[in-house]
């Protein structure tokens, strides 16, 4: 065997004074980093196998372990960064595409961090959300062009009758939904945690392209079922067991390419849920083979609406690409009730690193340009706009809404709440946190009762923070913030960026 050139990414520091050789680390690491040496009654750790997931560090009862990023691995070179070297060494060894997991970690501009939110002073009063009602409930679905009311005369004047036929709407208690993460890419316990949290909080989760496991049917009123190019698990019953349907065209982390769930992850449960043979590779083609135009998309949308008797909103998920604004316009015209746009920093279970880090555009820019374009075309109200791709906090949510989103999808944030430590090794299926794996030894580690509780807590916390910020800005309903760019200011952004975002620079008054 030839020499391997890659060095370890992490250093494991074990404080021998604190280590009691209880072997929790040995048992918990699925990468076999730690090993108990009977002769010395001590534990030896192998840096090179460590992926930095910090499971051992978290569980060590004496705090004896520290996982540290290993510094100065390679001789400094601005041009040839360690990333390039490592990839080249690896590819020279394997001849393969470099796979990765989660969203891109490359230092492109994060626009959320260059946008500031407003607050009231003197001329308009702020609102205390603890004392006064504050509405963050959000309806997702096509809104009518105008509202017709029948007003009777005489005594009944007070109770007008609503004449407009409003299409199906999703009613979310918070403008935050859980994004599509399929059973298969994540464990059933992870999906159970997410679906239960959505159900209990009164929001929605998305099945992803993995079908709907029978244990999750009880949460169907909080479920958005996805129809992707592989059409896994799709039948009439599936379509009808969700509250809404989402056609998946693309994913932010890997625009333009399909997916591949290797056969070894297709165990009995996954196979019955996806309706494919056990052990067979689950391949999602890059395009839907029946969609080559907006017209084709329109046909699928209406087919799905037919199948569900026009009772459920049907949406379309696309990745944020350069032409996103006209594409979105087409999607509205194809009859979709909502559009989900996934920015290029969106998470993934597995994607070629070269695509993840180099294809697509940031969600902030995509969102702003879509919102502006649809307004210009006068069709913004015809659709709800959901955005995803690295929504990290309640402030990201609030900024997204002021930039024109109806609601956001969170994926990575949800997984973090479940314990994910962003080691980005989802594709190895050895997730030590029991999330991105189907290994029963590992999936047990995620107790869905705890998972659901943590996610519920996260939503509760964000809801409080959102209300706090709205109140500060003198707004008592999230509806009033939607697309209200006057509440946003850019900082450290160029004229061009500001104009795409449609916001003023910090320091500029109304």
């Amino acid at each position: 065997m030839a020499l391997k050139l890659n060095q370890s990414e992490f250093e494991i520091h074990r404080d021998e004074q604190k280590c009691i050789s209880c072997q929790v680390c040995v048992r918990q690491c699925s990468n076999d980093v730690h090993e108990y040496d009977e002769d010395n009654e001590s534990i030896i750790s192998d840096n090179i196998k460590c992926v930095g997931c910090q499971r051992c560090e978290t569980l060590c009862p004496t705090g004896a372990i520290r996982i540290k990023q290993r510094e100065s691995e390679f001789k400094y070179n601005y041009n040839w960064s360690p990333g390039h070297l490592k990839n080249i060494y690896k590819q020279a060894e394997t001849g393969g595409v470099i796979l990765t997991g989660m969203g891109s970690d490359k230092p492109y501009t994060i626009y959320w961090d260059h946008i500031l939110f407003n607050a009231s002073q003197v001329t308009n009063p702020s609102i205390d959300p603890l004392r006064e009602p504050m509405e963050i409930k959000t309806f997702i679905g096509r809104k009518p062009d105008k509202i017709d009311l029948y007003k009777s005369s005489g005594k009944n004047m007070k109770n007008p009758v609503f004449l407009t036929n409003l299409g199906p709407q999703l009613e979310a208690e918070i403008p935050v939904l859980f994004s599509a993460m399929s059973y298969g890419s994540i464990s059933l316990n992870a999906v159970k945690s997410i679906s239960r949290a959505a159900y209990e909080f009164g929001t929605f989760y998305n099945t992803g392209e993995g079908g709907l496991h029978k244990d999750l049917k009880k949460y169907s009123e909080s479920t958005i079922v996805q129809v992707a190019s592989g059409r896994f698990g799709v039948d009439k019953d599936y379509l009808n067991s969700g509250a809404a349907i989402e056609i998946k065209i693309g994913q932010g982390a890997k625009p333009g390419i399909g997916g591949h769930l290797p056969g070894e992850k297709v165990n009995y449960e996954v196979s019955t849920t996806r309706m494919i043979p056990e052990g067979a590779d689950a391949i999602s083609p890059a395009p839907h083979h029946d969609i080559y135009s907006i017209e084709d998309l329109a046909q699928l949308i209406s087919a799905l609406k037919e199948a569900t008797e026009y009772k459920k909103p049907v949406g379309v998920k696309v990745s944020a690409v350069h032409n996103i604004a006209p594409i979105a316009s087409g999607i509205v015209r194809a009859g979709a009730d909502f559009i989900s746009i996934d920015g290029f920093r969106g998470g993934t279970g597995a994607a070629p690193q070269v695509i993840r880090d180099n294809v697509g555009i940031p969600i902030e820019l995509a969102l702003a340009s879509v919102d502006i374009r649809l307004r210009e075309e006068g069709i913004r109200h015809n659709i709800s706009l959901l955005v995803a791709g690295s929504i990290r906090s309640s402030s990201d949510v609030i900024k997204a809404i002021a930039l024109g989103a109806d609601a956001v999808y969170i994926g990575t944030a949800a997984l973090l709440a479940l314990g994910c430590h962003l080691c980005q090794k989802c594709y190895t299926s050895k997730c030590n946190w029991g999330i991105a794996t189907q290994d029963p030894y590992l999936t047990k580690r995620l107790n869905p009762e705890i998972g659901a509780r943590r996610l519920y807590n996260l939503l509760t916390a964000w809801a409080h923070e959102i209300k706090e910020m709205l109140g500060g800005a003198g707004i008592n309903a999230i509806e009033s913030l939607r697309g209200n760019r006057e509440h946003l200011r850019g900082i450290g952004l160029s004229e061009k960026e500001l104009s795409i975002l449609g916001i003023k620079h910090a320091g500029e008054a109304w």
């Binding site: 918990q28 569980l59 047990k444 995620l446």
Partner: protein
């Protein structure tokens, strides 16, 4: 465990969530050590005994400790009167002063959760639900709630 909430409490085993980390065993050893301090106990004390036992085969595992049976076979078998069931709290406890280490209880317990402690005087060692602690330490330190304290 009456006195905590005035109710009899019991530890429930949830096999599907046990991840075989054995933290329960570690904390049990500490709780029943002299110092009750993890580093001191493990570094300086000898013969720490865990009264909860993690069993593991493949990915199946669970932690099992005294079930504090309603008709406790160990109590029935005890020749010294050391093993008694408190009628109010439901807890079965071995009075280590009285225990003579005859192991009748070990022979009788169908769960196999009583251990020989021969470090000093021979005594039977078993779960005491951590006496005055609000939660038994195994329950408190299980990272995945595979052990749960519930009222019965």
């Amino acid at each position: 465990m009456q006195g905590r909430l005035g109710k009899v409490k019991k530890i429930f085993i949830r096999e599907e969530f046990c991840i075989a980390c054995r933290l329960c065993e570690i904390y049990c050893q500490v709780e029943h050590s002299k110092s009750k301090k993890i580093l001191k106990a493990f570094k300086e004390e000898k013969d720490l005994i865990s009264r909860v036992l993690v069993e593991e085969v493949g990915f199946n595992s669970f932690a099992i400790q005294c079930r504090h049976c309603s008709e406790a076979l160990c109590v029935e078998a005890c020749i010294s009167g050391a093993m008694i069931k408190n009628k109010n709290t439901g807890i079965v406890i071995c009075d280590e002063n009285k225990c003579v280490g005859c192991w009748m209880c070990i022979m009788a317990c169908p769960y196999g959760v009583i251990k020989r402690n021969i470090s000093e005087k021979k005594v039977a060692s078993k779960c005491d639900l951590c006496g005055d602690e609000e939660y038994p330490v195994c329950v408190k330190n299980c990272p995945n709630e595979a052990l749960q304290l519930r009222d019965i």
